[in-house]
Symmetry: C2
Subunit: 455 residues, 2 copies
């Protein structure tokens, strides 16, 4: 009965409401199944693989009976004994039994419904099937609170994770990624924590797109409490989810297990900022284990908050990501979401052909030189030199003096900059005005696309 | 005769002086050989592979004769015709001929000697044999000006390169690398330009170690002139080198060809800062072509001056380098120069065993709980729970109240931080005081060394 209520909330506007319009009966979940799983979510720790296998073989109601009877089927015991590290089944069973005795699934389902949440289970229309990749540690069920449809929202989703103690730089980048990914139609999944998580969610909300907040506590518990308004906004525009029963508070263990959901829900994870010890690196490890894409945003090497990202890059576990487009390029479908290849800007000199460049290089900056000596210096014929000189003069690169040809002042005077100037970039030249093209600027080389031309 | 003078300078204190104590006659170079190569250095462009092959087959004096006679040996012509892109040998020969006619090698050698420089050629005791890897584009000779021995200095050397228009960040990092590499006994090789190059050289000089400045102009030409004092210091403590004859001014082409020397002299190259169009990326390409190690220092993704580095990382052409130690780790001899693996700091909780952690997680932050319920929540036996509780209380993690056990206030109050706090890191706890160990700090996860433990 309460199970039915739980399903009802999936469409009742009262209950935060699902906008999918899918009939509650659309899922394979039954009221008995819901109530049984709600009970098991109390009995087992989140991500308990043994419980997962028990439910897979005997169904949720069956598992409840087994635990109530306090005796595991012999074949199950035999099978668990085959595990790499055979668990202490008796201890585990006693724990389940004691917790199940104290559990009140009906009350949980009612509490959840009261708070406006809905319980979905494997087979429910809203269930994200990519979670099945978690195998026996797949959640027994998920509490959802929000207007967005979880399954649909996660079809194209990216996890943006990082340090709670984010720097201004990290928070800025996280928000940029939240906006950028959303505007390209990608859902931002994160943990709702302070710092990077919060900034990423805010960016997504600012871009009027749904965002998925994965909590390590009950969806009716607001942790951190400072994110009260953020979670409200996320519920109105996206969805807040958790595999914990209502009222459950977060623990270290739950944070770590929760991270596997963030990684499993998304096509890829990008770490924006992470110290060498950071929960974000744990999420990154889950993404790698699940063979999802992993990206890391570099930062100043002087910032400890980027040390974790740099470590992932250094160990080649993550791809270097500098923009939302590059992340989409990583997780997107080839030919569909490819980002534009960052190209170096073109400068007027690029238009000069090889010979003309050689002539230009052969022209002195001081004094002057005649066509003949220029031709020798450039290693070209006299006719070639003469025609090139004409073109270069017309383009404003060189000028004729009484002593012969020389580079035009603007382009020739070597920068007599004080060394302190090395600390800030010099005024960049107008690329459209060839006469301003600096002779030895940093773009003093072929575009990186011909990087190896001098190899 | 002038050739002899040139060799003399290799040991004469007048001539800037070599401190190697190697006898001038130690090299296979003869006065004739020196004078011939000085002449060819005028006739051919730097890095001219055809000239390289000509000299390899007929020797420098032989090549001079061939050019003076203005007729290439038939077999050489035939062989060049086999090249992928057969060159216009006639045009090339005419260029060489015209330049050779205008060249005055004796004057060059005298000018070099006057400026205090010395000319070394393949076979000279000071010749860095790693340059032979450049094949036919190997320099015909090198002008050196400084007290350091080039060959010895480059045995353990790293090229530190980057943008002229370096940011304060880039200049800071470059200087750090200059100091760090030098203090570990590694010679810093760079191009003596403004920005990253200059900062790296200064760092090395500050660490009282030799540094190698590779110029794209004659060693007696000061470009950039703003680095006059820097080059003087480099000559007194290290060595300034160039493959250009005395008095030659830099050109774009010479900068690009020069970069291959920087890469070829060093065991590895690290790019500190580079825009998408930067000469540093050209040096990086040379390093890759020569199968030398390549590193790139990440920076803020908001800085265009790091875009080139991030591109190298993204394309996995370069290794992510965040400290001089990591660069030494890359180029060093395994077991000899290995850098310490950056490890996450340990926190008191690490010392708690699995069971004790589970019990700690099961203890409520508000109110209190009795040992029995804690045991159930933690999923351990009552005896185990009781002993763990004793230990945790002794360690200051928990306290006993009239309602039972609860976490000690310092460790329990959830951070009610305003969201703005996400912008700056919170005060870091005293790691030695367990009672200050924050419950959900960023180190709220296993050390990255067990990253995959939850996979």
């Amino acid at each position: 009965m309460t199970g039915i209520l739980a399903e009802k909330t999936a469409t009742s506007p009262v209950g935060g409401g699902s906008v999918t319009g899918e009939a509650p009966s659309g899922g394979s979940g039954t009221s008995a199944e819901h109530e049984a799983r709600a009970a098991l979510m109390r009995a087992a720790d989140v991500g308990d693989a043994i419980m997962g296998r028990l439910v897979t073989q005997y169904g949720a109601p069956g598992a409840v009976e087994v635990i109530r009877a306090r005796t595991l089927p012999p074949d199950f015991i035999a099978q668990e004994a085959q595990q790499e590290r055979p668990p202490n089944l008796t201890a585990r069973l006693n724990t389940w039994y004691a917790r199940l005795a104290a559990a009140n699934p009906a009350a949980d389902l009612e509490a959840g419904e009261r708070s406006g949440a809905r319980l979905i289970i494997p087979g429910s229309p809203e269930w994200p099937t990519q979670l099945d990749q978690l195998g026996p540690s797949r959640p027994l069920g998920l509490w959802l609170h929000g207007t967005a449809d979880l399954r649909f929202s996660c079809l194209k989703s990216v996890a943006v994770v990082g340090a709670r103690a984010a720097t201004a730089y990290g928070a800025h980048i996280a928000a940029e990624f939240g906006v950028g990914l959303s505007e390209s139609g990608w859902t931002v999944v994160s943990g709702g924590a302070f710092g990077v998580d919060g900034a990423a969610h805010r960016g997504a909300l600012a871009a009027d797109s749904p965002t998925v907040v994965v909590l390590a506590c009950g969806v009716d518990v607001c942790y951190p409490s400072g994110h009260d308004t953020l979670f409200t906004a996320a519920r109105n525009q996206g969805v807040v989810i958790s595999e914990c029963p209502p009222g459950v508070h977060p623990t270290r263990a739950r944070f770590l297990i929760r991270n596997r959901l963030i990684a499993a829900l998304s096509r890829g994870t990008v770490v924006v900022e992470a110290a060498l010890r950071s929960g974000a690196l744990n999420t990154a490890a889950h993404a790698l284990t699940l063979n999802r894409h992993l990206g890391a945003v570099p930062g100043p090497v002087t910032s400890g908050m980027s040390a974790g990202c740099h470590r992932l890059l250094r160990e080649r576990k993550a791809v270097c990501i500098t923009s939302p487009e590059e992340m989409i390029d990583l997780v997107g479908v080839i030919g569909d979401d490819l980002a534009a290849h960052s190209r170096a800007p073109a400068v007027p000199r690029d238009k000069l052909n090889e010979t003309t460049r050689r002539v230009l290089d052969a022209i002195p900056s001081r004094g002057g030189a005649g066509p003949a000596s220029i031709a020798v210096a450039a290693g070209v014929g006299l006719d070639t030199a003469l025609s090139a000189l004409g073109g270069l003069a017309a383009a404003g690169y060189i000028e004729r003096t009484t002593n012969g040809w020389r580079l035009r002042k603007q382009t020739t005077t070597y920068p007599k900059v004080p060394d302190s100037a090395a600390l800030e970039p010099p005024p960049t030249p107008e690329p459209t005005d060839p006469t301003q093209d600096p002779l030895f600027a940093d773009d003093d080389c072929p575009s990186p696309d011909d990087l190896t031309e001098h190899g």
